[in-house]
């Protein structure tokens, strides 16, 4: 016997929906209706692969608070494969993934990390380049989720100076002519609420949530960090902090908020415990396709900025901001 009622279970799910800021899209009554409707509740099958990645998005997923990971694994998804959590070892992995790619069972492919296109041998899985597995599995998937900045835009794995030619999941699908619908969930690490919300939406509507031009759920990625920044009033007053410990807008310290779309100011990280700006630190732009910049946090009077040694949009932006302020 399941020790809690369906209604209680749905309430739990609903709490995560609310926490993810999606209440107007998906009401508790809608969830109940989905439960009692003709269509049996589908637990989506998930296949999780890691490319050029650090497992950070996987760890982040386990931080989901509004439901338990037990429920996540047993009640509302079936995690058929995950490199860290699955017990499948050795040849079992290749057999499992092949059976999925060649079978009829529907599944959603989650990719964490990018795909090294210039050096396929830089990321191998069961004697095959990762890109081959992604192509096989993506072609048969109901949907693909790019979990985290590396899968969305390469992230640190594609930073200038790397040699592996890492491309994003979107670029890989385009290159291979695979038309499977894709959702991008950038941020480093990916925020677990974003993935859980996307899954819930899929369960309820059998389709993916509304997205912006970069295929990110509009729900979370419609505003820049800067637009919703708690220090925004300082920016309007042209009051720029010159040190970490001062009040004021952090632009002159290298803040990437103006070029970074995400919902950190409203839902933070780790169950809204904190996020970079609240920790006194400028936004590092981890959900931006420009991440990582050649310079992130710097001193307001860093002479190198004035010398023009550190190129990049941030610096230009900063100098402009300084010019405006002075």
């Amino acid at each position: 016997m399941i020790p809690f009622s369906r209604r209680e279970f749905l309430k739990k799910i609903y709490r995560v929906v609310v926490a993810a800021g999606a209440a107007p899209l998906l009401s508790f009554d809608e969830l109940l209706a989905a439960e009692s409707g003709e269509r049996p509740r589908q637990r989506p099958n998930l296949v999780w692969l890691q490319g050029a990645s650090c497992s950070g998005c996987s760890i982040s997923l386990l931080n989901i608070e509004q439901i338990t990971v037990l429920d996540l694994l047993t009640q509302f998804s079936r995690l058929l494969y995950h490199p860290n959590l699955a017990q499948a070892t050795g040849d079992q992995v290749g057999e499992l993934l092949s059976a999925l790619a060649d079978g009829d069972e529907p599944y959603i492919l989650v990719l964490e990390g990018g795909i090294p296109a210039a050096m396929p041998h830089a990321c191998m899985l069961d004697h095959q380049p990762l890109g081959k597995w992604v192509s096989r599995l993506a072609a048969g998937a109901s949907a693909c989720l790019a979990a985290g900045t590396c899968a969305v835009s390469g992230g640190v794995a594609a930073m200038p100076g790397t040699l592996t030619g890492v491309i994003s999941l979107a670029e890989h699908l385009a290159k291979e002519g695979i038309k499977t619908p894709l959702i991008n969930l950038p941020a480093c690490p990916m925020k677990p609420e974003h993935l859980v919300y996307t899954l819930l939406h899929f369960m309820r509507h059998q389709n993916l949530p509304e997205t912006d031009g970069r295929r990110r759920p509009s729900r979370f990625f419609s505003y820049t960090i800067h637009q919703r920044c708690p220090r925004y009033a300082f920016f309007q007053e042209q009051n720029f902090a010159r040190h970490i410990w001062e009040d004021g807008c952090l632009l002159e310290l290298g803040c990437q908020g103006p070029v970074t779309y995400n919902d950190c100011p409203s839902t933070g990280y780790n169950g809204n415990s904190n996020y970079c700006l609240r920790a006194g630190h400028p936004c590092i732009g981890c959900a931006s396709e420009l991440f990582p910049r050649p310079v992130i946090y710097h001193l307001y009077d860093d002479p190198r900025v004035r010398e023009g040694l550190l190129q990049g949009e941030t610096i230009t932006f900063n100098r402009k901001a300084q010019g405006d302020g002075e």
């Binding site: 016997m1 020790p3 890691q50 050029a52 650090c54 497992s55 950070g56 996987s58 760890i59 386990l62 931080n63 608070e65 338990t68 990971v69 037990l70 694994l73 494969y81 490199p83 860290n84 959590l85 699955a86 017990q87 499948a88 070892t89 050795g90 079992q92 059976a99 069972e105 050096m119 041998h121 830089a122 990321c123 191998m124 899985l125 640190v156 794995a157 930073m159 200038p160 100076g161 790397t162 040699l163 592996t164 890492v166 690490p189 970490i244 780790n270 169950g271 415990s273 904190n274 920790a279 630190h281 981890c286 990582p292 910049r293 050649p294 310079v295 860093d302 002479p303 190198r304 040694l309």
Partner: protein, 505 residues
């Protein structure tokens, strides 16, 4: 295993006679950093690893502080410890429950459970449904798995372990929250910068941290301890399995507020002799790593600005060639010798260095209770046990240090990035000794950067002399009951906590 780890063994008459441990993910982040602002290293290097990002953040900050010639102030050091300590405890729990425990128990045993515990009830119901269904891969992600008779059956201890496997998820999220309170977020805390920690602590933050710490303490000293001890008692022969060279290397970790008197002292145990740490003894060999041989095989940290990876054709050739290169991981050596790093090295070296009385007492007490000696720490079970001991000791220090933080006082000082400077930062990551080496140019940009990472020490390949890497050595001579499902080898590899993302970086 673990995403990007491949282990190939040759088994003759039931015994492993050859073992090759290969890291199959290459990103090349350390050399990519050349030309970036030196502060970017903190943000980029912690993305080498999403499981132990805090340690890369700390090592990067320490390297830059070394180049700047500064140390964080009291609050800065304390907050840094509160972040790194909580994270190391998180990783110890994650490793034992999520990444290792299911090697020792049979989750299907829960079917026989007759009690009323809600978590076990849910698991039982789910396992029953899954196994009775016609679904593809019933029981995923817990099945399929390697099977073996040498596993705990459905007794009370193994049911507790199944239960705690799931309870532990809550703890993991709470420990990450402790990291986020002062670090900004977890994984990938931003707030550890050269100069201290950017978060200004408030009474509210400290209260929340203290509350979560109390819960973590209850779990670590309660269920985690009991589960570790019950596995140790159920598998006493695993204090003999997976023995390595016995050479242990560890770096200092968790200092007092002034940056000295670390809870875990660094040092080396080399050929049975305890030695103080000598960073000059470290080199990395790339004879069997997939890079072109451009200079001498063994290079000291910062010994090269360039690592040229093999192209696809060369890679294929090496893979197929007998005795060819086989891993993206390099092979670090200490005075030319293979060293094991990790919790066991941390505990044994700190015990022998003798400074910390609490550590000595805890280790002595544990050894008496389990009937083992320090020599037994060089084993699968010794490594699991050491992770628990590390976590328990860290919790003790965090409890003291959270009370020493002065609320409202910033633990951060700004400094310019030094030009034409060198620095080194060493610490203990969850998986063992971690070092960052940094060199800046005349503009304060990164001129060269080097990471020597715990999983590189443990999971690195052979060297020019043909000496097998640390885990390769642990595997050799192991008896495998079923070569089709070599669970014994998986247990040995997992006891050293593989992280290939870290190892190759």
């Amino acid at each position: 295993m673990e995403g990007h780890l491949k282990i190939e063994t040759r088994v003759e008459d039931g015994i492993i006679t050859q073992a090759q441990v290969a890291g199959l993910l290459f990103r090349g982040l350390e050399k990519a950093l050349i030309g970036y602002d030196a502060r970017v290293a903190q943000q980029v290097t912690q993305r080498v690893c999403g499981v132990c990002p805090y340690s890369h953040a700390e090592a990067a900050a320490l390297a830059l502080e070394d180049a700047m010639g500064i140390r964080p102030n009291t609050n800065g050091q304390l907050l840094r410890n509160l972040i790194t300590g909580a994270y190391l405890v998180h990783d110890s729990l994650l490793h034992f429950y999520q990444l290792s425990a299911l090697d020792f128990i049979d989750i299907e045993a829960v079917l026989a459970y007759k009690g009323t515990d809600p978590v076990l009830g849910t698991v039982r119901q789910w396992v029953r449904e899954e196994l009775g269904s016609s679904r593809i891969f019933p029981g995923a992600p817990f099945l399929p798995r390697y099977r073996n008779d040498d596993q705990m059956q459905g007794d009370a201890d193994s049911l507790l372990l199944v239960r705690n496997y799931f309870s532990n998820f809550t703890l993991l999220a709470e420990l990450q929250k402790m990291v986020a309170i002062f670090g900004g977020k977890a994984p990938h805390p931003v707030a550890i910068e050269a100069g201290g920690v950017t978060t200004r602590p408030t009474l509210g933050m400290l209260a929340q941290y203290r509350t979560l710490l109390r819960r973590a303490e209850a779990f670590v000293l309660g269920p985690y301890r009991e589960d570790i001890f019950s596995v140790c008692r159920a598998f006493p022969h695993y204090f003999q399995e997976g023995r390595g060279y016995g050479n242990l290397l560890s770096f200092p970790f968790m200092p007092e507020a002034d940056g000295d008197n670390h809870l875990f002292t660094g040092g080396a145990l080399l050929n049975g002799e305890h030695q103080p740490l000598d960073l000059g003894a470290i080199s990395e060999d790339h004879t069997y790593a997939f890079y072109r041989q451009e200079s001498g095989a063994a290079l000291p940290p910062l010994g090269t600005k360039r690592l040229t990876p093999l192209n696809w054709q060369e890679f294929q050739r090496e893979e197929q060639q007998k005795g060819g290169k086989y891993s993206w991981s390099r092979a670090p050596r200490y005075h030319g010798e293979v060293m094991e790093v990790g919790a066991a090295a941390r505990i044994v070296n700190s015990y022998h260095q003798g400074g910390n009385q609490v550590l000595r007492e805890l280790v002595g007490h544990t050894n008496r209770e389990l009937g083992i000696t320090l020599a037994d720490y060089n084993s699968v079970m010794g490594r699991h046990l050491s992770r628990y001991l590390s976590a328990a000791l860290i919790i003790g220090r965090l409890k003291e240090q959270v009370e020493m933080v002065e609320d409202g006082v910033l633990g951060f000082e700004e400094r310019e990035v030094p030009r034409n400077a060198r620095g080194v930062g060493i610490t203990e990551a969850s998986r063992g000794a971690l070092g960052h080496w940094l060199e800046t140019d005349e503009a304060g940009l990164i001129k060269n950067y080097e990471l020597v990472v715990p999983s590189t020490w443990n999971f690195g390949p052979k060297d020019a002399e043909g000496k097998p890497g640390a885990v390769e050595k642990m595997l050799l001579g192991t008896r495998i009951s079923n070569p089709e499902q070599p669970l014994e080898a998986a247990r040995i590899a997992r006891s050293a906590d593989p992280c290939i993302a870290c190892s190759v970086h």
